[in-house]
């Protein structure tokens, strides 16, 4: 599965510019599903199976967009000012690299680099693509880029700039490949624009009208030096969402996920995220309401260019997802 992860995370696809990553995902899943289409917002929607007795229509979503930047101004010397696409912390910028959707590479510089003290605001940073001036700059205002770092395989731990949420996409792709049979009608959706407001999930869920929603996305941890007090750590299994800023998970759904993890003999932990939200929040509000949850992959350094996950957690998330969707769902 590591090769699949590497291919996914090294592809550039900031929110709204998901064509390349969508093509890659499409090629991976096409032969494993019964139906595949792309909706108006660019979501890749796949269907596998039909509802049989005791089955439900379940939507599973991982987002294929990633955070990034967009050029707002280019000066005479070819230096570009930019704004954020999604949650970018200026703290992580200086010395970093970006890759534009058109392939151009650039480095991020900062004004007065020798100044110490608090982190400057985003307006003090600029991108340098090595242009001699505005005239020969290969990028124009409005062009988007994602952060650029190679995938690192540290053995049990994997690092990338886009674990959020290509790791979720990888888990879904792997699950599709391993799925044998299910009484449920399964919609595996690779959503767009999650980082800018859960937008792809909003429209795809409306179109699908599922009875249950499962997002597969990353979550924060509390296992690094002086990190926040959060009882989630790497290597302790899939995190079962109880709450984040976008929803409180229906207790019947929490219970269903716990029962599934126990039946499959998987380690698990409960997730209470005090910031952020996922596609589950959007699915929950769809039409007359869709009880939804998120299978969360514990991730260190989220929204930095070096997001770290545990490989066993990833494999266990695949098993948990498979266990959840390939049996009849009972909620009580």
């Amino acid at each position: 599965m590591k090769q699949l992860i590497k291919n996914l995370v090294e592809t550039t696809g900031p929110s709204g510019f998901e064509s390349e990553i969508r093509a890659l995902v499409r090629a991976e899943v096409e032969s494993y599903v019964d139906e595949i289409r792309v909706d108006a917002l660019g979501n890749l929607i796949t269907r596998k199976g039909k509802k049989s007795e005791g089955g439900k229509r379940i939507m599973v979503a991982a987002h294929i967009d990633e955070i990034g930047v967009m050029v707002t101004h280019i000066d005479e010397n070819g230096f570009m000012r930019f704004t954020n696409i999604g949650g970018v912390n200026p703290f992580n910028l200086s010395g970093g690299r970006v890759r534009f959707v058109n392939g151009t590479a650039g480095v991020i510089g900062v004004e007065s680099p020798r100044e110490r003290g608090s982190v400057p605001g985003m307006e003090k940073f600029y991108i340098d693509v090595g242009a001699r001036g505005k005239a020969d700059c290969p990028v124009k205002v409005g062009d988007a880029a994602a952060f650029d770092r190679p995938f690192e395989d540290l053995g049990e731990r994997l690092v990338s700039k886009a674990m959020d949420d290509r790791i979720g996409a990888a888990i879904m792709i792997q699950a599709l490949k391993e799925l044998k049979s299910s009484p449920n009608e399964l919609y595996f959706v690779f959503t767009t624009q999650e980082e800018v407001g859960l937008r792809g999930a909003t429209t795809s869920a409306y179109g699908i009208d599922p009875e249950i929603g499962i997002a597969v996305d990353i979550t924060g941890v509390g296992d690094t030096p002086n990190s926040e007090k959060m009882d989630v750590g790497l290597g302790k299994g899939p995190a079962l969402k109880v709450k984040d800023r976008s929803l409180v998970v229906d207790p019947r759904i929490v219970d269903w996920m716990v029962r599934t993890a126990e039946r499959e003999n998987l380690p698990y932990q409960y997730e209470i995220l005090t910031y952020g939200g996922t596609d589950a929040g959007a699915m929950n509000l769809t039409r007359a309401g869709v009880p939804s949850t998120c299978i969360s992959i514990p991730t260190r350094y989220a929204h930095s260019p070096s997001e770290m996950v545990d490989y066993q957690d990833v494999l266990n998330c695949v098993k948990l997802l498979l266990g959840a969707v390939s049996h009849p769902v009972t909620l009580d």
Binding site: E228, K229, V242, K243, L247, V248, E271, I272, G281, G289
Partner: protein, 354 residues
């Protein structure tokens, strides 16, 4: 409902944290059952009650939304004999130390919120209040037993006993927004003896505090022609501005702002004046922070209104409200519904286009 106060004391004392509303929903359903024609539970758990009108079909419908979910706490870690907590949807940690709570573990555990004694904490200068991450819940149990019964993710409800302050004033937790459920119930009781032509959907919504989830989803499925959110609003008290803030016990606060349809506001204003119901204005300059925010736009949108009940000390375990204000809101709703006719939607639309 024998009496608003007794009804309120009963339903604020039942757990129903956001997403976990089943216990209070069952009690509200028992009270509503004799007052309405149909009761159903939405996919997300909102209680939807239909009282049919006498008009010819297809009848118009009005949706009344009062959210039944409560703010509270959630366990983030079992740490020895104590529980770390965070807030569920916005609770001021400064008021928490010393509060009685119930932890909903494998069984219900009574406990108290505690903070470390100031003099034992290094670096804790100036006696500033502790943040919520420094607070714990103590249920008086040994670590091994606690580990068995509670996990991170267990919910924690306030357990403050309601306090009667004279005849009219009640203090307690979860007045936000069970007072609205009381007002809607009061309205349904009046309507029992009235003839009205519109269908009425009384909805006790879920997860207002997280995402207006009940309003979005019931607003979608019930397709109302008009929608009214009933919610509490900050009343004058220590630290509030002297201007433009509704006063406790001084009447229905009519919401005014972008989430409120201008024509509906005018009609409510005219009606309270005719009926001599004490009233005030609740200025909601942008987001009303109520279910009306969702009801206004879902499925093509509709004219919406907010009726506010003044309340002091919002999102604390001692929210203070006046029974008179609740009855006024209930009565106003009933009178408005009784007056609804076939022409209002067209007239409202004309006013929008004018």
């Amino acid at each position: 409902m024998a009496e608003v106060k007794n009804f309120l004391k009963e339903i604020i004392s039942l757990p129903g944290l956001s997403g976990y509303e089943a216990p209070v929903r069952e009690a509200i359903a028992r009270h509503w059952e004799p007052l309405v024609d149909e009761l159903q539970v939405s996919r997300l758990g909102s209680l939807e009650a239909l009282k049919r009108g006498r008009g010819t079909e297809p009848r118009h419908s009005i949706l009344l939304a009062g959210h039944m979910d409560a703010v509270g706490l959630i366990v983030t870690q079992v740490k020895g004999r104590f529980l770390r907590i965070t807030d569920l949807n916005g609770v001021d940690p400064r008021v928490l130390p010393g509060q009685p709570v119930v932890v909903h573990g494998r069984k219900e555990l009574h406990g108290v919120v505690i903070q470390p004694p100031d003099n034992l904490v290094e670096d804790h200068k100036n006696r500033a209040p502790f943040g919520i991450e420094e607070l714990y819940v103590d249920v008086g149990m040994e670590a091994e037993e606690l580990e068995e019964l509670v996990h991170s993710g267990s919910m924690v409800s306030f357990a403050t006993t309601p306090i009667e302050m004279g005849e009219d004033i009640l203090a307690g937790h979860t007045m936000d927004d069970r007072t609205a459920v009381a007002a809607i119930t009061y309205c349904l009781e009046i309507l029992r003896k009235r003839i009205h032509s519109w269908d009425v959907w009384a909805v006790a919504t879920v997860q207002e505090e997280t995402a207006y989830a009940g309003a979005y989803t019931s607003g979608f499925s019930l397709k109302p022609d008009l929608a009214i959110a009933i919610d509490v609003t900050h009343a004058k008290g220590p630290g509030t501005s002297e201007k433009s803030i509704p006063d406790l016990g001084k009447g229905v606060a009519l919401g005014q702002g972008p989430n409120v349809n201008r024509g509906l506001y005018d009609r409510f204003k005219k009606l309270v004046e005719e009926l001599e119901i004490p009233h005030q204005v609740d200025v909601m300059a942008s987001h009303s922070g109520t279910d009306a925010f969702a009801l206004q736009v879902i499925r093509g949108g509709r004219a919406s209104m907010v009726l506010s009940i003044p309340l002091r000390y919002m999102h604390t375990p001692v929210e203070v409200v006046s029974m008179k204000d609740i009855r006024r809101v209930g009565r106003l709703l009933a009178e408005f519904i009784t007056d609804l006719d076939d022409t209002i939607l067209e007239e409202l639309q004309k006013e929008v286009e004018a």
